[in-house]
């Protein structure tokens, strides 16, 4: 058994164990997530390589590490948050088991070399999330889960059609399981029928684009983030979107390997700009804080799509760095806002006000998380946005004003919301409470790591980033 196998198997076993021992569910969840983090670090130290179904490479290794970090933070946060959700023991057990199940599918989706297995993993992960979104059983939660499920169900079905067409394109050159292997497909794509590759790419882009929250199939995202339990919002934004983006990135790499096929970059740029601009203006109209962050995730996925669309080594570096940074900062924002919503008894922006006055550690954490999401230094989202803007200015200067407009509109909307949430006179609280370490520790650790990515990117990660960008372009 390799480390990569262990990465997938550990959460599967943990899910079974949690289901068997409901009294210890929350603690087991944390312990298993910590184990996953250790495995992810070992996997990173072992480096890319390996044959077979699970193949760690320069692109997915850092995403696995980020996923394990966010998974641990979310497990710690949920130990406190789910206890306040008012679930009975059966649903609490169900939540923690489904969480580990989701982590297993996520690691499988990231590490799998076989696109069919990747698809099954993303589908299973979506189903786990749908069930967790519906868990509060309020009418809005059920409706949000239904909408999430229908849109994403259609989306991933379309992606499967794209994968089948890819297999058809590879059929003359490859045999058996290799027909769906990402590595093998990339190697033979240059000799495949360009028409089939084009057809496949359109379906893959729309399908995985739905999961990534790209316009026009983004509308499930704010609802699912706002109505489900907060820990789910954190993993939806921090993890599931990354898996979908990896799917897009792989499709692009396969189709882009054929000189006669359509250039995938243009499609990604168009979707990316539509997403960024729509989300940037929508951010101004939010009254619900969790929906605000849902829309902010849409905005950031738009930025990532633009970066991958621009392509080249700097473009891919900016896109991957942005994914890492977003995965650290957005869950931090959700931890803070989820806890604040509990303390203030509601998740409306008007209900949560003056957070820094009564809860300085929580309030200032939220200030920094929102500043990071708005693209301010010293966080890595600032670094990736600057890198992206420089590259857009160099390759397609006429697009630069649009990019800057989107970033500014979105950034100012977030800063305005930040002022209302964190400063001014504090709003009343139903009963006095404390932020609690289960929120503050993951919140501040994620923020510190996001700053570290920008200020002193660890050398192994920097090397992987460069390797990944080179291999993709």
């Amino acid at each position: 058994m390799t480390l990569a196998d262990g990465m997938v198997l550990l959460p599967v076993l943990a899910a079974l164990l949690v289901a068997a021992l409901p009294a210890q569910a929350a603690r087991l969840n944390i312990a298993a997530s910590a184990g996953s983090l250790v495995l992810a670090l070992l996997l990173l130290a072992a480096g890319p390589g390996g044959e077979g179904l699970l193949r760690p490479d320069a692109t997915n290794l850092p995403l696995v590490l980020v996923a394990a970090l966010v998974g641990l933070g979310t497990a710690i946060f949920s130990a406190q948050d789910i206890a306040h959700e008012g679930f009975d023991r059966r649903r609490t057990r169900y939540f923690h088991a489904a969480f580990q199940g989701f982590m297993a599918t996520h690691f499988l989706a990231l590490l799998s070399d076989n696109l069919g297995v990747m698809w099954v993993a993303i589908e299973a992960g979506t189903l786990a999330c749908v069930l967790m979104v519906a868990l509060p059983r309020t009418p809005s939660a059920i409706e949000a889960a239904w909408k999430f499920f229908i849109l994403c169900g259609v989306g991933i079905a379309l992606a499967l059609f794209g994968i089948i067409v890819l297999a058809l394109a590879a059929q003359p050159m490859l045999e058996g399981g290799a027909q769906l292997s990402y590595g093998a497909l990339r190697a033979v794509a240059a000799r495949a029928d360009p028409g089939l590759l084009n057809l496949a790419f359109v379906f893959l882009l729309v399908g995985f684009g739905t999961k990534a929250g790209l316009v026009p199939l983004h509308s499930w995202l704010p609802d699912a983030h706002a109505e489900g339990p907060t820990p789910i919002a954190a993993v939806l934004s921090g993890l599931l979107l990354n898996a979908a983006m990896l799917g897009i990135l792989r499709s692009k790499a396969i189709v882009g390997a054929h000189p006669g096929a359509i250039a995938p970059g243009g499609f990604l740029l168009a979707l990316g700009f539509a997403t960024l601009l729509l989300a940037a203006f929508s951010l101004w109209r939010r009254r619900d804080a969790k929906r605000l962050f849902g829309w902010s995730s849409i905005e950031h996925m738009g930025i990532v799509a633009i970066a991958f669309g621009i392509g080249g080594v700097p473009g891919h570096m900016a896109g991957l760095l942005h994914l890492w940074g977003h995965s650290l900062v957005k869950p931090a924002a959700f931890f803070a806002i989820g806890r604040a919503a509990r303390l203030k008894g509601g998740q409306g922006i008007g209900t949560i006000g003056g957070l820094t006055v009564n809860h300085p550690a929580l309030g200032w954490g939220l200030v920094l998380a929102m500043a990071a999401l708005a693209g301010l230094p010293p966080f890595s989202l600032f670094a990736s946005e600057v890198l992206l803007a420089a590259e857009v200015g160099r390759v397609q200067p006429w697009l630069l004003p649009l990019l800057v407009l989107g970033l500014l509109v979105a950034g100012t909307a977030l800063l305005r919301a930040m002022q209302r949430l964190c400063f001014g006179a504090p709003t009343p609280e139903p009963e006095p409470g404390r932020a609690g370490l289960a929120t503050l520790v993951p919140l501040w650790i994620n923020l510190a790591l996001a700053a570290l990515l920008a200020l002193a990117l660890p050398a192994p990660l920097a090397a992987l980033l460069l390797d990944a960008a080179r291999s993709l372009s």
Partner: protein, 222 residues
């Protein structure tokens, strides 16, 4: 392989039958007939998978066909019929709005699928490419069904059609790996959507998709 050869003709008859049933799903108002149409489509899919297994000499496709027959041809329709009888006896009629327009839209989607697939697949085998064109038509018609029938049952029917089209596409690709796994995963999707339908039925909220419920939360308006 050319027209007039048995493998080719059989595959066309089965795929074409599934396509016809997709049109029935677009306009059929009676819920019982709608469920029967789903059962017929599932059975045709099973036959298509078994036939492809025979033509390609691929025994795993027999398994896919058996799973499709058991689940989509028999189990799911029986469950839906019982659900309809017990939970919503007063809803024998299921509104399908704009029949003329949706049929026209359906014909245009089929034309689109053929125009898109046939020119780009000149390199592939004739059987594979025409199978792909039919499968894409079924997928698109499934999406159209989901669009035009906004009720929860309509969504179920549309998603099942869509998934049938996917399986048809997969079994038509010679040597396609993981067919059983992928079609089973698709089946799980369908089963979960039916479970969701059931859950909503218990909440007596089956009249419409009703995501309008979420409007008050969106932060739009005053």
């Amino acid at each position: 392989m050319t027209f007039g050869q048995l493998p080719y003709d059989m595959a066309h008859v089965l795929g074409g039958g599934m396509l016809l049933v997709s049109f029935v799903l677009l306009y059929q108002r009676r819920t019982a007939a709608l469920v029967n149409a789903l059962a017929l489509q599932g059975t045709l899919l099973a036959a298509a998978a078994v036939w492809q297994g025979y033509v390609q000499g691929a025994p795993q496709l027999y398994v896919t066909g058996m799973i499709a027959l058991a689940a989509k041809g028999i189990a799911i329709p029986v469950f839906l019929h019982r659900l309809m009888r017990r939970r919503m006896p007063d809803r024998a009629i299921e509104p399908a709005r704009g029949i003329g327009l949706s049929m026209l839209g359906g014909v245009m989607l089929v034309a689109l699928a053929i125009l898109v697939v046939l020119p780009v697949t000149t390199g592939a085998q004739a059987l594979a490419r025409e199978n792909l064109a039919i499968a894409l038509s079924i997928v698109l018609l499934g999406m159209l069904t989901m669009l035009t029938r906004r009720s929860a049952l309509g969504q179920v029917a549309g998603l099942m059609t869509l998934e049938n089209g996917l399986v048809l596409a997969a079994v038509g690709v010679t040597g396609m790996p993981l067919v059983i796994e992928l079609s089973t995963a698709g089946l799980v999707l369908v089963i979960i959507v039916i479970a969701g339908f059931f859950a909503r039925l218990l909440q007596e909220r089956f009249d419409s998709l009703d995501t309008d419920m979420l409007h008050p939360h969106r932060g739009e308006g005053p």
